[in-house]
Amino acid sequence: MTDLAKKRFAQLGQQLQLDQLTVVRRQAEGWRNGLTGLTGLVGVVFVLKGRESVAGMPAVWRWTTAALLVAAFGLLLIGALGAVRAAHGQLGQRTWLTGDRLFAAVLDEVERTQDALTAARRTSVVGLCAIVAAIGVSWVVPAEESAAGSKEPATAVPHVLVVTVDGPRCGELMAGDTRTLTLKVAGESGESGGRTPAASGWRSIPFDQVRSITPVRGC
């Protein structure tokens, strides 16, 4: 009786003994590429979506977001380096390159590679979770804040009180060049009184009519 499959599988096993390292390296390369792509994707999402919503947050949440991002950056960096190390580890470092030692070194290297890969996967996943948490915070927290009823959104545009020959005008300073000053005037809500309702909108004031410009917290 001859069971050739038995021999074929024994031969396959012998071949696999030599190929284990190649297999695990290829696997690590795939993971490295995947992790890098995923990290880039989430990072881009955050860069596109995150910044402006962070600006209006209370300090605690801003710090939370920052801490999450720093942690995520560290974790992703460690993960990426781990994946690179898994994909490009060295074989036969600091060992005699005899057949026996190398045989053991290959097994060691395969195990080390897989450990590095596992660690890289875990840190990357935790890092991605931190980024997603940061995005979630940046989405959720300002919504709560504006729902809490603070009338004054924290805009970066300064309000100025401009005294002209016609009287004072208050608004957001939009632009100014050598001839005119452009204000965005909120018509009805103007507290200075006596402003006509039609005054809402953008308003250009020639500089020769301007007597003084004073920065104010609001109009």
């Binding site: 001859t2 021999k7 024994a10 045989f103 195990e111």
Partner: protein, 115 residues
């Protein structure tokens, strides 16, 4: 070195003579076995090494230390790798022996060995 019998290459499973003894030795770290013994067909001493497959996620609960796989049970299929040229071997065959293969039972681990 026992005399080598230049048999024709043939992939078959000969009966192992009961007088032949095979040494099945587990490596120190427990990760491979070395089978040494005479080929039943061509009588050359054959060394055959079987390693533990370390691919895949590590099966361990405790961290640290080198993982020692469980000892092998049953038998190890071994094929001849005598290295002598044998006639009638097809050129595409990767074999380095007479083509014979057989099974060597693995002795149950001695009480002293690590598991």
């Amino acid at each position: 070195m026992p005399d080598h019998v230049p048999t024709d290459f043939r992939e078959h499973e000969p009966a192992v003579p009961p007088t032949d003894t095979f040494a099945v030795v587990r490596s120190e770290d427990g990760r491979w076995y070395t089978v040494t013994g005479p080929c039943p067909t061509c009588r050359a001493t054959v060394v055959f090494r079987v390693a533990y497959g370390v691919l895949g996620p590590p099966k361990r609960l405790l961290r640290g230390g080198r993982r020692t796989p469980e000892p092998l049970t049953g038998s190890i299929p071994v094929y001849c790798q005598c290295g002598y040229p044998h006639a009638e071997k097809p050129p595409e065959s990767p074999d380095a022996g007479c083509g014979a293969f057989w099974e060597v039972p693995v002795p149950s681990p001695a009480p002293g060995t690590t598991t």
